[in-house]
Amino acid sequence: MKMPGDWLLAIARALLDQAIVSDVVEPTIADLRAEWLRADSNRVARLRSRVRGYLAFWSLLAMSPFVFRRWPGRTPGVPFWQIQRSHEMRWRTRIQLVTVLLIVGLAGGYVVGRVRPPLYQSSAVLKLVPSNVPGFLTGNVENLGARLRSTGNIVASRTRLERLITDFDLYPRERQSWIMEDVVQKMRNDLDIDEGPGGTFVIKYTGTHPKTVLKVTEKVASIFADERRREQERTADDSMAFLESRIDETGARLQRISAEAVQNKGALSRPRQLELEAVEASYKNLLMRREDALAAVNAESRQLGEQFVLLDAAQLPEQPIGMSPFTYTLLGGVAGLDLAIVIMLGVWLWRLLRERRADLARRRALAQG
């Protein structure tokens, strides 16, 4: 008849010392088999005996690193109660270590959670409203991401942020000890500008005072809208100025060639004739582009071009964001436990290596003599 527990025995023989197998594992499996046989043909009883036996075996194996490290058969000549007492002391030390580090971690987490000021966040949503005039007039060809980047860079520039920091008296403690560049960088980190769905984007600002957070968010949103408009106007004006200078230059060239043609009574060499035609075409093209640019400037001045509109104004934050003091306390406790486990593992490894080294030295001594 096939008996249960054969493979459990094989595992135990492969993993554990022979003394432990014969003293503990074999009797445990023998009990499992005896109970199994006693159950006879009762399937439920047989299953129960199996489950109990397997549980007993696996619990033995799980605790084997602690229980069997100094089993009587493995440490001859040492009274066993001494070993037991040393184990008890070791466990007591471990429990003390875990308790102390857990308490320190919990207390540390609690203190951090209490001392750390609560953080508030306010957000405003802006939407890009498309131009009321055709795109070719206003020349708006960038996508939302590109606009966000270009305007965002201006808003997050040192000059702008420094002015905001001074106006709203932000980061007073940091300003006392940090250089301005670092304070500005901190503000950049606290300011978040993200692209949202449907051509919207969200401006978020995080700080320690709810009212200040609200005001800063509102201000940044308004700067964003104004800056974008100013930037578009500037672009249109720059384009206009560039076109004007090109028109003047091309017009002068055209006049020179035309005057030469008049002097020669309408007769021009073939290359000059071709040049005249090219300059004429170019001049015509520039004039047409100037008309478009004029329309764009006009549209921008009447705010017909695409612009950012405030969709959701910033609200006064009511609840702080981030982790509560309770979460900090819990995290502190977990950190303390982790530290205790790491220390215990380190000590265990150190002892194991020391024992291995001593064992090797003993074997060498035995082999030599």
Binding site: M3, D23, W81
Partner: protein, 100 residues
């Protein structure tokens, strides 16, 4: 440290009491008799320790023709175990008397 006497944890005391009351038993018998206070997974660990302390001795069951493949061990109390149990009971009595 070697002068210190062996200790008697509650589980070892329970085993000594069981064996003193019922006579020689094997591990499973003790688990069943203990009414759930001894567990299958740890009983032989405790028995091994007690044997090492000299409180118990074990011998293998005579080979059984029904053959479960492994020999079972029968445990009985040694003289030292009996003295330890009796010392423990006296100690308890002394403490009870002192507590009055």
């Amino acid at each position: 440290m070697s002068d210190l006497p062996p200790t008697l944890p509650p589980k070892e005391l329970l085993i000594l009491e069981l064996l003193a009351a019922r006579g020689p038993l094997h591990g499973l018998g003790m688990v069943e008799e203990s009414g759930g206070r001894l567990k299958r997974g740890t009983v032989y660990v405790t028995l091994g320790r007690m044997e090492a302390k000299g409180f118990l001795v074990s011998e293998q069951e005579p080979p059984n023709p029904s053959a479960i493949g492994l020999p079972r061990r029968i445990y009985r109390v040694t003289g030292l175990g009996e003295r330890m149990l009796s010392a423990w009971h006296n100690f308890k009595k002394e403490l009870a008397w002192a507590g009055r």
